[in-house]
């Protein structure tokens, strides 16, 4: 498949629109809001993302018309040019980014609309839309970036926006802390990304040989040039591992930060401190999938490195199961969804990790819809409950909030993997591909088994949240709220306005309809449409070995599909039995029966606490130790030199009654005391002076004698 590059002038506008929105609302928002009200803010904040969506559609349409393998490239200007490193601000649209850009702009714009309703009561309306637009800008830069460095701009940019939005209600210090935690944990991942980038740059830059360091010709950091360049540098090794493996693993470290995988997932549950649209957009639909996108982007690296693939797949699978187990025990509806997101991201990594890049991307897409729907549905519930998030205090809301209920129901169907909705197709494809892969260092059934178990748990905890929220007796609203200006006077929960429910409907529809582009070959007889669409981008995946082929493979795939449906049904059934109507005493009994297990899992395996006691403690101790060292050793050394100087002065017998201020911080008193004893030389008494003269002369004679002996 030949690749070709088509220049265009369209792409830069896609990120530009939200940037303009962010700038307008950020710089003048406060004034605008005062002068024209929130409508003006909302208009700017919502219209520009939609404009970005329109341009995205136009650009994708243009790409559509071109033969496959085409990349649209928009070169804006030369960004950094130093030596043979030359980086442009340039945007590129290939089929992977086409999918991403549509998802991001569409879901993003929808959530902007939703936010009009959700944030309507907030005083800092302008700030919220400014941040949200800025996020969209950064995300689009990430998705559209033509090269690794520009992608990193988007990569960190979304991290920044995430920080800002998590801590949006900064007056509660816990929110601010959650934001900072997210940023710092992300930075740990970014450190991996950066080191990966160094190795990539070094690897591409040339090689040390006997004759020197040879710079590769045709040097470029653009994604479309990388596969060919990397192939030539493939034999390079560093500390025993080859280039692909290093870069692959290190970029995945970056991905674990951004996409909340073990061990860096800890920030995501805390990130739920942000407003719910933020959780939906950033911490479910778009930003957190950036890691998956990165791995998919760099598929040509992973396809060459079984070790890197294995790590990605196994970490993904482990995270999927691990987070699912935590999700089972959460009572905060957003926390349930947060762990669910972590878990679903794990699936995506399994997908890209086993070489089924398109499946990972597909799950990314379906997840964007159903998880956004779930979060926004939860947001709707939270609004109705006046910012109550504890599911134990909810119940029976299905009667009063039909739209929310049924969209949530649809999304639950999708996520738990029933064959009518999109989640089934994407997840099942991943599980099947995992089972069938032979490209890892571990047998394919291992990640499959973990993912399979997680699927059952997913079904259980999602339906648990559904039943706890929407069935049973109608909840009473306790009169507290968080005092954020949501001064509803009526006490009963009720359905939210159309600006919110409309978005829910669209997303739920998307969650179902997205299945159309991923119907498996088993059902339709030809490869899924999306697989075909993305194939040019994932050319590297084609040659990866499979365990089963042909008829045997088909039979197994059917079998696994049935198994998946069965396990989802079991999960649903359990949740139905335990939580429907909210009157079954068994959950409480179980918790009482196994207090230890319950405690450990309910407290998320104490991972946060363990991190706090190990890494954070070590970090802060190092910091304190360094500061102490600086102040008490290094600075004191300087003072010691000064003190020694003074000591010599004292030996000369000339110490003053008081210590000259300044340099003496540490040894002053000691020197002073010893100095008094020694200050007897310049006493003012002449005989003594004369004695010094004589003694000095004698010393000089001895010295001279010594010198003469040595030198003559």
């Amino acid at each position: 498949m030949e690749s070709r590059v088509l220049p265009t002038n369209l792409l830069a506008f896609i990120p530009l629109f939200p940037l303009v929105g962010a700038a307008i609302n950020g710089l003048f928002g406060a004034h605008l809001q005062r002068a024209f009200g929130k409508k003006a803010i909302g208009l700017v904040g919502v219209a520009l993302p939609w404009a970005a969506f329109v341009f995205a559609v136009l650009a994708v349409a243009q790409l559509w018309r071109e033969p496959e393998g085409t990349t649209l490239v928009h070169r804006v200007y030369g960004w950094i040019g130093v030596g043979f490193l030359s980086v442009e601000v340039a945007f590129a649209l290939d089929r992977l980014s086409a999918m991403m850009v549509l998802v991001v702009t569409f879901v993003g714009s929808l959530i902007h609309v939703y936010s009009l309703g959700y944030m309507a009561e907030d005083k800092a309306f302008w700030r919220f839309f400014s941040y949200l637009n800025l996020f969209l800008f950064a995300m689009l830069v990430l998705v559209l970036a033509d090269n690794v460095l520009l992608m990193f701009v988007g990569w960190e940019g979304v991290g920044l926006c995430s920080y800002l939005l998590i801590g949006f209600w900064y007056e509660d210090l816990a929110n601010a802390r959650a934001g900072a935690k997210a940023f710092v944990v992300n930075r740990i991942g970014d450190f991996g990304f950066l080191v990966g980038f160094f190795i990539l740059f070094w690897g591409l830059g040339g090689a040390f040989t006997e004759t020197g360091y040879h710079i590769g010709s045709g040097y470029s950091l653009a994604f479309r040039d990388l596969p060919a360049l990397v192939a030539t540098a493939g034999d390079k090794t560093l500390w025993g591992l080859d280039l692909f493996t290093w870069v692959g693993i290190l970029f995945f470290v970056g991905a674990t930060g951004k996409s909340a995988q073990i061990p860096l997932y800890v920030w995501l549950p805390d990130a739920m401190a942000g407003p719910t649209p933020v959780s939906a957009l950033i911490h479910a639909a778009t930003m957190v999938t950036a890691g998956v996108f990165l791995v998919a982007r760099m598929n040509f690296l992973y396809a060459h490195s079984p070790l890197a693939m294995t790590i990605v797949a196994m970490v993904g699978a482990a995270t999927a199961l691990f987070a699912a187990t935590i999700g089972v025990f959460q009572y905060d509806i957003k926390k349930v969804l947060a762990y669910s997101t972590v878990s679903q991201l794990g699936y995506m990594f399994v997908g890209v990790g086993v070489g089924a890049f398109w499946a990972g991307a597909y799950h990314l897409l379906t997840h964007a819809f159903f998880k956004a729907a779930l979060f926004l549905g939860a947001g709707s519930v939270i609004l109705a409950m006046h910012h109550e998030q504890d599911m134990r205090k909810m119940g029976g809301l299905g009667k009063v909030m039909p739209v929310t209920r049924w969209t949530y129901w649809l999304a639950c169907v999708a996520i738990s993997g029933f064959p009518i909705a999109s989640g089934f197709f994407s997840k099942d494809e991943i599980l099947w591909q995992a089972f069938n892969t032979n490209a890892l260092l571990v047998p394919g059934w291992l990640p499959w088994l973990l993912g399979f178990a997680a699927a059952g748990l997913t079904s259980f905890y999602m339906w648990r949240s559904y039943f706890m929220t929407f069935t049973g007796p109608l909840a009473k609203i306790e009169g507290h709220g968080h005092g954020r200006g949501h001064g509803h006077q009526d006490a009963a929960p009720r359905e939210q306005p159309a600006v919110i429910t409309g978005v829910l409907v669209v997303l739920a529809a998307g969650a179902v309809l997205a299945s159309l582009i991923g119907l498996p070959m088993l059902w339709t007889g030809h490869a899924p449409w999306l697989e075909h669409f993305l194939a040019p981008t994932f050319a590297a995946a084609e040659g990866l070995p499979k365990t089963f082929t042909g008829h045997e493979a088909h039979r197994l795939e059917w079998l696994l599909m049935l198994a998946s449906t069965a396990v989802a049904t079991i999960g649903l059934g359990l949740a139905w039995w335990l939580y429907r109507g909210r009157d079954n005493p068994v959950p409480a009994q179980l918790a009482a029966r196994f207090p230890g297990t319950h405690r450990v899992v309910f407290n998320k395996y104490f991972v946060d606490e363990a991190y706090q006691r190990s890494f954070v403690w070590g970090f802060m101790s190092t910091s304190r130790l360094s500061a102490w060292f600086d102040q008490h050793i290094l600075d004191a050394l300087v003072n010691l030199v000064a003190a020694l100087t003074r000591l010599f002065a004292a030996l000369d017998g000339l110490i003053d009654a008081y210590v000259v201020d300044g340099m003496v911080n540490t040894v002053g008193n000691g020197v002073r005391a010893s100095g008094r004893g020694l200050r007897q030389l310049q006493t003012g008494r002449i005989p003594q002076y004369l004695a010094v003269v004589v003694a000095g002369a004698v010393m000089l004679v001895v010295l001279a004698r010594f010198i003469v002996d040595v030198y003559t």
Binding site: D656, A695, L700, Y711
Partner: protein, 499 residues
């Protein structure tokens, strides 16, 4: 050159002698009162000094540098140092105008002694004979003793004089003993004769001879070290500086020191003539140079460290002048043409900045009647011009560019580094580190003047006196010579040679 033909070459000395005699005679015969007394005698002294300076500048050049049968040796270096001595004396005369530290009824004596001192310094700087060295040192010393004890307002001055005379007496006694040993060992009293004898002598090959020579050299060094206030012969210095009348202290810190350096250099080049041309070749002078090197190191270190603790400005400057003697010793050690050249430049610079600093001390003393650092608090606000001048002097003494002091240090370090040997570079390193230490106490004064405010109601500092005027005037060349120092380079060029 025999006696009569020599006379035209010592006209400056003659002028000084005549002036001194005139002052004493007039005092004895005429005893004027009032204005003539206050102004006339200083003017007469200044006139004599000026005449001497003119004679010096106009002195005929001579192919033969030795006069009076070798008693005096005149070379560019000695000419320069004589100039420094005369100018320093003139400045001291100026500084003394209206100074409260001098009893008004004995002003004439003061000026007469000053001119006599100048004469001694001139003779000392060109002495080429042990006898002449001794006589000149005694002239300088005796007048200095008297001048140090001149202030009869309190006990301090007399105490200073007594200490000075006893210490000086011992020093010159020891030196004289050294001279006698040299005379015995090498059978000559003139430096050139000693040099020749030393070059051919077998004395140094015997153990006893070596001991005796060393003893003699160290004894001589004691006397000369006393004059330049080098450790360990410096003990008198802080006490005498503090006790003596400030105008005289200013002169004492420069003039005798300059003459002492002249004779020290001449002594070295006299005994080891190759020191004057190629210091590296003077292997036989190695013990002498190493002694001086050690002395230099110890002197600047002790001077600087001790100065850290001083609260009396005069005492602080005394230790500072000890340290500066150490710096200048570096130039003596470097030898060759560059060493004396560097010493000459440093002397010129030191003359300006040190007398300038003492002028400020004197000016403040006239208002505040104290030299304690406490009275300098807030001087930057009370007398900005004076404080600014003091700042310039202090920074120059530290050796910071763009002041003349930096140029002086530059010459000294350059002379050592150009030489390049291990010990030379080590000495230079010690020298620069000492400059850093010296900053500490000079900055104390800066801090007092600018960073701290005066406690209570301090006496206003008057600028309308000769000391303040002199300080401000001297600050100008201190700064100007730091920015454009071609004139100093000319000095170095001129006075680099000793015969």
């Amino acid at each position: 050159m025999p006696t009569l033909e020599s006379l035209p070459h010592v006209l400056p000395e003659v002028a000084l002698a005549v002036t001194a005699a005139a002052l004493f005679v007039l005092e004895a015969l005429w005893q004027p009162r009032g204005r003539a007394r206050r102004v006339g005698f200083p003017l007469l002294a200044l006139g004599g000094l000026l005449a001497a300076l003119l004679f010096l500048v106009a002195s005929p050049s001579s192919a033969e540098p030795r006069f009076f049968g070798g008693l005096l040796t005149q070379d560019p270096f000695s000419t320069f140092v004589r100039g420094v001595a005369i100018v320093a004396t003139a400045l001291a005369v100026g500084l003394a105008l209206g100074s409260p530290s001098l009893p008004s009824n004995r002003r004439v004596e003061y000026h007469g002694l000053l001119v006599l001192l100048a004469l001694g310094m001139c003779l000392l700087s060109s002495a080429g004979h042990l006898l002449m060295i001794y006589v000149a040192i005694e002239i300088v010393s005796l007048t200095s003793y008297l001048l140090a004890g001149f202030d009869d307002r309190g006990g301090r001055s007399a105490e200073a004089g007594l200490k000075y005379v006893l210490f000086g007496g011992v020093a010159s006694g020891v030196m004289l003993f050294g001279f006698s040993l040299l005379f015995g060992l090498f059978g000559d009293l003139s430096l050139s004769g000693l040099g020749q004898a030393l070059a051919h002598s077998t004395t140094l090959s015997t153990g006893a001879g070596r001991w005796a020579t060393l003893l003699a050299l160290v004894f001589v060094l004691a006397g000369l070290g006393f004059k330049i206030a080098a450790v360990p012969f410096h003990m008198w210095c802080p006490d005498v500086y503090e006790g003596a009348p400030t105008p005289f202290t200013a002169l004492l810190s420069v003039g005798p020191k300059a003459a002492g350096f002249a004779v020290l250099l001449r002594f070295g080049t006299g005994l080891w003539p190759e020191l004057a041309t190629d210091a590296a070749a003077a292997t036989s002078a190695l013990p002498w140079l190493l002694l001086l090197g050690v002395m230099s190191t110890v002197t600047m270190t002790v001077g600087n460290l001790a100065a850290i603790w001083q609260d009396n400005l005069k005492r602080l400057l005394a230790y500072s002048s000890i340290a500066h003697a150490g710096y200048m010793l570096m130039g003596v050690v470097a030898g060759g043409r560059e060493g004396p050249g560097a010493v000459a430049v440093y002397l010129a610079v030191y003359l300006i900045m040190n007398i300038g600093a003492f002028a400020v001390v004197s000016a403040v003393d006239r208002s505040a009647h104290s030299e304690d650092i406490g009275v300098y608090h807030g001087l930057g606000r009370r007398a900005p011009l004076l404080a600014l001048a003091m700042a310039v002097f202090l920074l120059s003494l530290t050796g910071l560019p763009p002041t003349a002091g930096f140029v002086g240090k530059l010459y000294l370090f350059a002379s050592l580094i150009h030489h390049g040997g291990f010990w030379y570079v080590l000495l230079a390193v010690v020298g620069v580190l000492n400059s850093v230490v010296s900053l500490y106490f000079y900055a104390r004064v800066l801090r007092a003047m600018f960073l701290e405010s005066a406690a209570g109601e301090p006496a206003p500092v008057s600028l309308a006196n000769s000391a303040a005027a002199l300080a401000v005037v001297l600050a100008v060349p201190t700064l100007a010579l730091g920015i454009f120092w071609q004139p100093l380079a000319a000095i170095a060029n001129f006075s680099g040679s000793l015969f």
